[in-house]
Symmetry: C2
Subunit: 133 residues, 2 copies
């Protein structure tokens, strides 16, 4: 498959105690529970060199999102004036890709434990990238 | 469209003097030229509140990427041992989403000028998110 095809293929799923939308923090970096990223066995070579302690950005697909929303009250608070979704971290946006900066705690074959992941159980994982300082 | 559909819809395109793959820096944060993000008129409401000076993360679709690649020599240097693509910023990866941290320089309707964007001319834009400190 080349990059000319804009269809995402999940490379794994989140295993997390967060199971309801209301449990999820409204923004990244407010903390979340430890969670497992369970990767498809076919892509395990892509994890080679991933080590505990690494800081990484996990990209997820926010599959409960409403992709038709262009403006929101930030943080779901109606006293906040409406803003364009591209100026917020709302999950509702045209391409609902989540960014989560986490630390790798453990690597066990195709299973990777990470800290502080504010993503719901079952969320598709799209990509992992190293944090560049 | 709901988040259950994993097809990306570009919300705009990059206009940049970078036109060849060889011109593009190998990683983010090594600098790049100023560039324009030209958004689809239908999503201009999603930009409401975006102001010059804002630091944002632009998400792009690296449409020249090879999505079948799982391991690479980092930075295209064959003296670097092969590693899994998920431990690198290689464009070649299963879901070639680019992350670019830039500063907004100007907003003119559906056109947004940003600093230091290491993305090729014509690259599809998927999303823009505020940087959270």
């Amino acid at each position: 498959m080349s990059g000319a095809d804009l269809t995402l293929v999940p490379i794994g799923r989140v295993e997390s105690p967060l199971s309801e939308t209301a449990d999820a923090p409204k923004q990244g970096f407010e903390g979340g529970p430890d969670a497992w990223l369970v990767f498809e066995p076919r892509i395990v070579d892509a994890l080679e060199g991933l080590e505990p302690g690494a800081r990484v950005i996990v990209l997820t697909w926010l599959d409960r999102a409403d992709r038709s929303v262009l403006r929101v009250h930030p943080r779901d608070d109606r006293s906040n004036p409406m803003r364009g979704v591209l100026t917020t971290r709302s999950a509702d946006r045209p391409n609902p890709i989540g960014l989560h900066e986490v630390q790798v705690l453990k690597v066990d074959g195709n299973r990777v434990k990470v800290s502080d992941l504010e993503a719901l159980d079952g969320t598709p994982v799209l990509d992992v990238k190293p944090v560049l300082d």
